[in-house]
């Protein structure tokens, strides 16, 4: 393999030399007689020069031929499977696919590289600080995994929350899944799509009731985009690896305070609107409403 590559390099190199020298021949021919050929027998001098250059080119060509003949052609065509046809696609909307394919290949390659690096860095900096403080004594029993729990445990937690707040209606399109996604409707104010990873809240999107239930598109209303942002902050704030159920309950308790999103004025400035938005922040402890700029 290495030898093949070396030969390929020599061949490419000799082609480069050939091209460069052919270039020189044409340059000499195009500029014709020059001052440095002198007066006496200038035609002869020129002819001699040209002949010399042509001999070099001839030698170069021979080099190319020998180096090429020593190359071993690859056995059979390259196998790119069906992707080969992509580059030959003639319909307009599919022409870009090949380029995209190459890009996504590069992208996955980069991800692999970065994740290996990240993995190495993380391995040297252990992040089990929180566990250590609790795992020494009698707390050991609660030391179960938070992200890999039986579906019925999560189901119990969700139905518990559903009963806790009468104006929060929870629907789960796929109950008893290991990582369920639920829709929590808060009265007629808004709805949140909440994704669980085991007993942890992994993602929250807040939208209007009229909007779609998918987790990836954000609301088209500024106010709900702001509330989504704040939900992410609260989700991190309430997160607790040792008491995951309490964390979810505290989050839902806080989330419930948005039932007055449109109706209650800001605790600090006493106005409803600031930058054309109602108070979109709720204090994490007192649950009082504040504008983002007033908190």
């Amino acid at each position: 393999m290495d030898r093949d590559l070396e030969q390929l390099h020599t061949a490419l190199n000799s082609i480069k030399v050939l091209r460069s020298n052919v270039g020189q021949v044409f340059e000499t021919v195009s500029s014709g007689l020059r001052a440095d050929h002198g007066e006496e027998g200038k035609e002869n001098k020129f002819m001699l020069e040209l002949q010399e250059l042509l001999t070099t080119v001839n030698n170069n060509l021979r080099d190319v031929e020998t180096s090429v003949s020593s190359l071993t052609p690859p056995p059979g065509p390259f196998n790119l499977a069906n992707t080969t046809y992509l580059s030959q696609e003639t319909t307009q909307e599919r022409q870009a696919l090949y380029g995209q394919l190459v890009n996504s290949y590069k992208w996955t390659d980069k991800i692999r590289e970065y994740s290996t690096l990240a993995g190495n860095i993380l391995a040297t900096n252990s992040v089990n600080k929180t566990y250590k403080t609790f795992s020494t004594t009698k707390r050991r029993k609660t030391q179960t995994s938070n992200h890999n729990v039986a579906p019925d445990v999560i189901e119990n937690l969700i139905t518990g929350i559903d009963r806790l707040f009468p104006d929060v209606t929870i629907t789960a399109p796929r109950p008893f899944a290991p990582n369920p996604i639920i829709q929590a409707s808060l009265g007629r104010v808004l709805k949140a799509i909440i994704a669980f990873k085991g007993l942890m809240i992994e993602w929250v999107v807040v939208k209007a009731h009229s909007e779609s239930n998918d987790l990836w598109t954000e609301s088209r209303y500024k106010v709900f985009r702001k509330v989504t942002e704040n939900c992410h902050a609260a989700m991190c704030h309430f997160h607790s690896p040792t008491m995951p159920e309490l964390a979810v309950r505290s989050f839902m308790h806080w989330f419930h305070s948005y039932n007055t999103l449109f109706s209650s004025p800001c605790k600090r400035c006493a106005n409803h609107l600031h930058n054309n938005l109602p108070p979109t922040w709720r204090d994490l402890r007192t649950l009082e409403p504040y504008h983002e700029e007033c908190k």
């Binding site: 009229s210 209303y221 449109f262 609107l273 938005l277 109602p278």
Partner: protein
């Protein structure tokens, strides 16, 4: 579709309709609103011929916000029946012109610029009844909220922000009985009809 409040903006002495719209446009633009096209709401009223017995009235309205819908409100004298249909309803009314005749001189419309500011939609309409200028109607919609009771105070604050003292402290009379209900496009139509009916009774103004 969110809760919408429609209200008249009083025309100051010596100020024309276009000038009033201009003043309001400047105010709302100063608050950061961006104009997004124009809007139009129109209303034509038909009455039943005497042969049909008790006189009935049909108001047919169009709103550029719901361009594929024709709204109609039938008043029988004892009941008011709203209806939302597609564009064919207009043709149906033409077919029925031997039973329901149009009161051409009462054709009312409100049209003007349409603005977006945050989650609010603001429309500044100059109202004409059979081509005569009658006044200025300001429509404000708060798109994320669908229950009037929840956001009335917030909307009042917004209205006061650019209309000043002309904003009433209580919601439009049509909304007052429906504060806890989910707001729908036909509610906006009802509010326009209420306003158009009032304008039809008032004498014309200098445009």
């Amino acid at each position: 579709m969110g809760v919408t409040v429609l209200q008249q903006f009083p025309i100051v002495e010596n100020r024309t309709g276009p000038l009033t719209i201009d003043v309001l446009t400047k105010r709302i633009s100063a608050l950061g609103a961006i104009q997004q096209g124009q809007f139009l709401v129109d209303c034509e009223t038909y009455t039943s011929v005497p042969q049909l017995g008790n006189q009935r009235t049909v108001h047919v309205l169009h709103n550029s916000e719901q361009p594929a819908t024709v709204f109609s409100i039938l008043e029988t004298g004892t009941k008011t029946i709203p209806l939302a249909t597609d564009g064919l309803f207009d043709l149906l009314m033409m077919k029925m012109n031997s039973f329901y005749t149009s009161k051409k001189l009462t054709k009312a419309e409100s049209k003007g610029p349409r603005f977006e500011i945050g989650d609010f939609l603001v429309k500044l309409g100059s109202v004409t009844v059979s081509q005569n200028f009658k006044g200025v109607l300001v429509e404000v919609e708060y798109k994320p909220c669908v229950v009037p009771a929840m956001c009335w105070e917030l909307m009042r604050e917004f209205l006061q922000g650019f209309l000043g003292s002309s904003v009433q402290s209580s919601p439009p009379s049509y909304l007052q009985n429906r504060m806890q209900e989910i707001y729908t496009p036909i509610d906006t139509i009802h509010q326009y009809l209420e306003q158009f009916t009032m304008y039809r009774k008032t004498p014309g103004m200098r445009a």
